[in-house]
Amino acid sequence: MPKYLIDTDTASDDAIALIMALRDPSCEVLAITTVFGNVDIETATKNALLSIEMAEVLPVPVYQGMDRPILRPRIDALDIHGQDGLSQQNYPNPSLKKEAEHALNAIIRILRQEKEPIRIICLGPLTNIALALRKAPDIQTKIQDITLMGGAQLGYAGYTEVAEFNIFCDPEAAAIVFNSGIPLTMIPLEVCSIGNGKVEAITSLNAKEIAALRALHTQRAQFAMNSTQTLYAFCSKLTGFKNLQLPDPTAITVALRPQGILSSYTAYVQVDLVGPLTYGQTVINVRGGTALDGQVIRHNVKIISAIDGAFFKAHLTESLS
């Protein structure tokens, strides 16, 4: 059975993603590491612990990681997920406790002690992975691949006109990971949600589908739909019609059940670190060979360009049942 580390800036859609991964019988989660991003680090850790309790499985250890980006000022997404990241539902404090070890050290220790390479899923800014790679370059060979929710393709708006939130939170960290040589699978935001043409994306949930999940009458389903109420309102306002986009759960389906991938391609992806208008953009070069400036183009990322919405929703429903 493949073993996973999941790195998360746990807010509402991360919480669902964690439940999906923890409840998947084909997946062994060795640890969950938290990072700033959607919310501050303490909130992310608390939400991760709560999500494990809601998953109703054997607990996995949670390690708290970086509370800030490498270089830039920290931003958050409280307007998208609510002040507590979970739509302010007044959830009780989780009884599970975080581990004392720092996430960077936990990532390094776990990778070193495992015999076979581990798969990593990143649901937030890439700061923990980037710094772990700098601190212990030897762990690179113990990482089978990294599946990350983040980035955007050319012509799609994200957090800025051209940069997606997770990457924009820490572009320097993203650059370290994209340049690392580790096999990467990237799920761009628009593939998880909606293009600028205001067309309903197949992966987003409509009101009827949300009602159907609520009708499962499980604690998990109620938690999932309650926690995403602020996100639901945000998505609906942004697009002009009622819908809930779930980027991180989509990434879990891609990582755990690749049959749900409809199309993908490889490309040379670099992160723009200097453009006043393009800071944090994933610059996607689909050509091979040599660039105009003589630089050799090596494809470093597999980009998911379409996901089977029905397959994803079936996976989601199974996890919340």
């Binding site: 800025t160 670099q270 723009d272 453009g275 996607i284």
Partner: protein
């Protein structure tokens, strides 16, 4: 009658575009101004005169303009269109002569003396930017700029995220975008997909047994090779003609987006990328109408009609 100046770095697809414009009865081409881009200014001015003669209609005055970008070193596209820009077919010297006046002066003179002139740009925006810098008040008389340039969602038009015309002189494009003149952008995306001139289309053009039918295919010989190399497609892509088609028959546009558009000029990775504010993040009024879809069948008919 709608009146336009056409600014062009005349290579093979520009030549087709010029002929398309000159043979259309709904518009008048007041002047052709040449710029460096696909080729050096010596070659673009030669090719503009060849195309004008081949149109076999009227002969607007043709002016030579700026020979290099405002700030950067000129990058040419001889690997795309051939050394002479017209498929290396050894077309004879044209007999039409260039005007003495500088293209920038000519643009400004027309802008001052006419109230209803638009500018169609088929190359880098250097001439137009120079005119704006020199006399913005005169240029405010320009009714609109319709530019072939920029990317929409197609990667690797030139660099990963920038298209050639804009990338060659992004600083000039920035001046034009910030000028206040209304801009219609016809991105590179539009000449790939259903608008591609396939082998069957080329056989159709050749079957006319006309000078222009042959020219449309032959002058794009190198472009066919380029598309084969770059995109693994046996096609002629016609970016500049799609731009002219949008002017000639506005109804050819099936979808467009009004959007506030800026340009990145500082980043080595993203130099020349157009930044579209589709979600209104900047709270600015749109300065660009971005054309995202045209009627491909009608476009091809227009090409065939101009070839007959």
């Amino acid at each position: 009658m709608r009146t336009y100046i056409i600014d062009t770095d005349t290579a093979s697809d520009d030549a087709v575009a010029l002929i398309l414009a000159l043979r259309h009865k709904e518009i008048t081409v007041l002047a052709i101004t040449c710029t460096a881009g696909n080729l050096s200014i010596a070659k673009t001015t030669r090719n503009a005169r060849i195309a004008t003669e081949l149109a076999q209609t009227y002969h607007p005055p043709i002016y030579a303009g700026v020979d290099r970008p405002l700030i950067r070193v000129l990058s040419v596209g001889e690997h795309v269109h051939g050394k002479d820009g017209l498929g290396d077919m050894n077309y004879p010297e044209p007999s039409l002569q260039l005007e003495d006046e500088h293209a920038v002066d000519a643009i400004l003179r027309f802008a001052r003396t006419h109230q209803d002139v638009g500018i169609i740009t088929l190359g880098p925006l250097t001439n137009v930017a120079m005119a704006i810098l020199e006399d913005p008040k005169a240029m405010s008389n320009i009714t609109e700029i319709i530019a072939m340039g920029g990317q929409y969602r197609m990667p690797n038009g030139c660099t990963a995220n920038a298209e050639f015309n804009i990338w060659v002189d992004a600083e000039a494009a920035k001046i034009v975008l910030e000028s206040g003149i209304h801009i219609t952008l016809v991105p590179l995306d539009l000449c790939y997909g259903e608008t591609e001139i396939t082998k069957a289309d080329r056989d159709h053009l050749k079957s006319f047994k006309t000078v222009r039918g042959d020219f449309f295919v032959d002058c794009n010989r190198r472009l066919i090779e380029y598309n084969q190399r770059s995109y693994d497609k046996d096609i002629i892509s016609l970016p500049d003609p799609t731009c002219v088609a949008v002017v000639l028959e506005p109804s050819i546009v099936l979808h467009s987006i009004d959007v506030y558009t800026r340009i990145e000029v500082k980043s080595p990775l993203s130099y020349g990328e157009l930044i579209y504010d589709f979600d209104g993040l900047q709270g600015q009024k749109p300065n660009v109408r971005l054309i995202t879809e045209i009627d491909a069948l009608r476009f091809k008919e227009m090409i065939f009609e101009a070839a007959k």
